[in-house]
Amino acid sequence: MDVGILALQGAVEPHARSLTRLGARPVEVRTPADLDGVGALVLPGGESTTISMLLERQGLFDPLVERLEAGMPALGTCAGMILLAAEVLDGRADQRCAGAIDLVVRRNAFGRQVDSFETDLDIGAFTESGLDPTPFHAVFIRAPVVDSTGPAVEVLASVDGAPVLCRQGCVIVSSFHPELGDDLRIHQLLINEVT
């Protein structure tokens, strides 16, 4: 199965490694033609302001929104979460969001790089999906958090009361970076949406 990774900037390669280990074929997406060929999309971490700008310059923003509206499964991590959300706070005025999940997200909510951290998360959804229920070791880097959620959003994990892993239909978003490690369970949740 071809799973796209938005490859405009950011941590593309670690996602490709995780997807390959799950038996999917990662495809780098830089143009509308690349997007046409994939059945699901990962939006990686990086700088959300830069990626948002490059999506416009590559003529990729509108095709991306169309595919998401048509029900393409997607996983957005960190900057990818911001891009999939409905609205971003503390971003740039011209920063666009795709609105694929009904969330308001706050950028760099935990602080600057010296405040970036690792922690263990309990994720109940793993049990429902038949995955190992033990805590997930999550890496947060200048991470965003969810400020408010719409009624259709499931909150799958929180840190200090703030949602950091959410799902709406076949769109999954995390403030943290499941690709920076060997644990494939978050990527498996995406694959489960495709098969």
Partner: protein
């Protein structure tokens, strides 16, 4: 050696967190800026981070004298002006400048040969910090020594402030060429590589197994045009630093945007031709042989 801090189940300052930010900057352009206005131009153009410094390298080269860490007030002004990560430079071995930069909350410290070295034998013990460090290297041995001291990102040194790409190309080829050779080395040859490179054996073995540096490898020093950025990306750099090349060109905003697009579309000559058009003049360049001081020789 790692020195992580734990508060309420949150671990900060780990290698994963420090190297992770470098992962997030891949495929992007980090631009030198000297004030808030330039920082905004950089962010508007799509820079993934800015390097805050008082003078760009070409001015440091012209002015001579001792180049030091920037004024904290100026760094704070830049931090307030943009939402992207802000980096700043400390002198080689000047761990107190690094402590000050960490206290200011910069996102990455560049222990940089562009500033005048403060120590002729020792680099900063970078494991002792929560803030991550990037260091320059001219060859693989230097890169691995910096990583063993705790650097979480390596950049080629190139020759900063010259607008001449030749040294960055030399350094990238040197580093990546040796990595390719080590992947073919048998165990006995790996011992020999560690001796030759004056680098820790476990890092040499890791390169043999993975075919890559343990941390992201970016390019700096002499990038002056979109084509320069695409050249170093094709050679294997994972992101680019542009120093004097943006704000010493005749149209910084257009040049900044063009370098960002060239870094993204580095394999597509059609797009490179398009973004290279009508940029005005690039910064004036310098022949390496005419230089009084080569910054790349600083560092041990």
């Amino acid at each position: 050696m790692e020195n992580p801090q734990t508060t309420a189940g949150h671990q900060t300052g780990t290698q994963l967190v420090k190297r992770g930010l470098a992962e997030m900057l891949k495929g992007g352009v980090i631009m030198d800026v000297v004030d808030a206005e330039q920082a905004r131009v950089a962010e508007d153009a799509g820079a993934v981070a800015v390097m805050a410094l008082e003078r760009v390298p070409s001015d440091i080269r012209r002015d001579g004298g001792v180049a030091r860490m920037s004024d904290p007030e100026m760094i704070e002004g830049i931090k307030a002006a943009v939402t992207i990560p802000v980096m700043a430079k400390a002198r080689i071995g000047h761990f107190v400048e690094a402590q000050i930069l960490e206290a200011l909350g910069v996102d990455y410290v560049d222990e940089s040969e562009v500033l005048t070295p403060a120590d002729e034998a020792h680099h900063i013990d970078k494991w002792a910090f929560t803030v991550p460090f990037v260091c320059g290297a001219t060859n693989l041995g230097e890169a691995l020594r910096r990583i063993s001291e705790g650097a979480c990102m390596i950049r080629s040194k190139g020759e900063a402030g010259t607008g001449n790409i030749v040294e960055a190309v030399r350094h990238l080829r040197q580093i990546l060429g040796d990595i390719r050779k080590i992947t073919q080395a048998d165990p006995a040859e790996q011992f020999e590589w560690a001796k030759q490179l004056q680098a820790p054996l476990p890092l040499v073995q890791e390169i043999h197994d993975t075919g890559r540096l343990p941390v992201p490898m970016f390019c700096a020093g002499g990038i002056a045009t979109p084509a320069d950025a695409a050249l170093v990306m094709q050679l294997g750099a994972e992101a680019v630093f542009v120093g004097s090349g943006i704000f010493k060109s005749s149209d910084p905003s257009a040049m900044a945007k063009a370098v960002v697009e060239a870094t993204l579309n580095y394999r597509d000559p059609q797009i490179l031709a398009k973004v290279s058009r009508g940029l005005g003049s690039a910064m004036a360049g310098l022949e390496i042989a005419t230089l009084d001081t080569t910054y790349a020789d600083r560092g041990w």
